[in-house]
Amino acid sequence: MNPKRAYAIFLRQVFLLRGSPTRLFQIFVWILLDIVLWGFITQYLNNVAAATFSFVPVFLGAVVLQNFLTRVQQGIAVAFFEDVWSRNFLNVFASPIRVSEYLTGLVSTSIVTSAIALVAMMLLASIVFGLSLISLGAILIPFLLVLFLFGVALGIFATAVVLRFGPASEWFVWPIPMILAPFVGIFYPIATLPSWMQAISYALPPSYVFEGLRAVILDDRFSADLLALGVALALLYVALAYGLFQLVYRTVIRRGLIARYSAETLS
């Protein structure tokens, strides 16, 4: 691993973000709209539901964390797409760069963009709706770590699919977090789901985050074992996604798909 080559991939994204306000704008616009929408929904629910708990940390907190996961995944995907859109694959992959260095560069970019997004969401949620995730203290860090690792795994998986099937498969990347959302218990306990959906839930690391945070907020109960399981699962998914990307890379090299990437051939 040569850190300079990974840094080159990261620096390219920094140059692009610095040179184009529209790229910066897309980091904020959807997540801030989501916070505003769910912020008012939770306020309304607090007024009409007469619940024994506040909906703000349970719902709005969950929306912040779900959006963080989405930003991590899309941070990797968008950085990868920059090479697709500018037809830069041949220049990049005909160079000495290794797959591990390329992916490290993409993940580094995602760390920065998702951190910016997280800070913006937490600020807006705190200033406008009085949600203070920071008040959870250090316990928030491992929960964020699980979401970050799983977001990395999803991002690498999505880029592997696009690398294999060509630019037309780009649409596949965007709905992945939404497809997983019903299973991971963002707004409701996993026990609410039918048993077949619960089986899928327990295989997904974010389930442990949302279940764990609900337990902390509502019952003041923290399960380190479940969180450790979430971390272990997330690490497993990162390893599997990395393995898949390596496999796809070897396939596209064998079949010459990088050299004729725009042809989108499946041969």
């Binding site: 140059f15 692009l16 992959f93």
Partner: protein, 254 residues
């Protein structure tokens, strides 16, 4: 004398098949340091396929590629650090400036004293006034200059050019040819050059390899090869190979 120089590139028994189609069939050749070798042939002859295999973006079905005595397959990162390329179909990203692109590729290729090296290649290809211009708004000729600056950023031992002057006017193309030739001789770079401009090939190349339907048919000095095969010039020879490759092969065997 080029003959005394060591091989910078050695290709042995290279083969690439896609199912039942054979794109490159048992091709072997070498390029010495300081030598410019023209890889010629009609469209679909296998030139770009060979270049892609040397660049490590296409895996050969059989055969091996050695760059400075190191096998590409086992030493990909090491050998590609000493290699670079420019191709008419692989321009630098248009959404970054020339300097930014050179900075990125300089880091990827592990260039030492990068800032100084960027200034050198900008000067060499008369790109100083475009250094802070995005590549996408350059003219095609200027983009070619930028691509060549990228190709030389790491002071490669082996350079691959796939029709590097295809988008240039005759005057600019001549200037670029002389720059590349002078640079190659000064730095003792081995260069593999594909082109459909036979005048260019005659002017630049020390040796040419003629490919047809994935096979290597002829090799020799571009200035003497046409006469050896009863043709007036390289273009005539090219047309003969493109139209009747078998007749030339039989003639060569006799």
């Amino acid at each position: 004398m080029i003959e005394a120089e060591p091989h910078v590139l050695e290709v042995r028994g290279l083969k690439k098949t896609y199912g039942s189609i054979t794109a490159v069939d048992d091709v072997s050749f070498a390029v010495r340091r300081g030598e410019i070798v023209g890889l010629l042939g009609p469209n679909g002859a296998g030139k770009t396929t060979i270049i892609n295999m040397i660049l490590g973006v296409l895996e050969p079905t059989d055969g091996s590629i050695h760059i400075e005595q190191l096998t590409l397959r086992q030493n990909r990162t090491q050998v590609l650090t000493r290699t670079n390329f420019a191709a008419v179909y692989a321009q630098m990203p248009g959404n970054l400036t020339v300097r930014q692109n050179l900075h990125i590729f300089g880091l990827i290729y592990g260039v030492k004293n990068l800032k100084r090296r960027i200034d050198e290649v900008l000067r060499e290809f008369e790109l100083e006034r475009f250094a802070n211009t995005r590549c996408g708004v350059l003219s095609s000729g200027e983009q070619t200059h930028a691509g060549l600056a990228k190709a030389l950023i790491n002071m490669p031992r082996l350079l691959l050019f796939d029709e590097p002057t295809a988008s240039l006017d005759p005057s600019s193309a001549r200037i670029i040819r002389s720059k590349i030739k002078a640079h190659g001789q000064r730095e003792r770079i081995g260069i593999l050059w594909t082109s459909h401009n036979m005048h260019e090939v005659t002017e630049v190349c020390d040796r040419v390899l003629f490919l047809s339907r994935g096979k290597l048919l002829l090799t020799g000095n571009p200035k003497t090869l046409p006469e050896e095969h009863g043709k007036g010039d390289l273009e005539e020879l090219f047309i003969a190979i493109a139209r009747e490759p078998l007749s030339l092969k039989q003639r060569r065997l006799r």
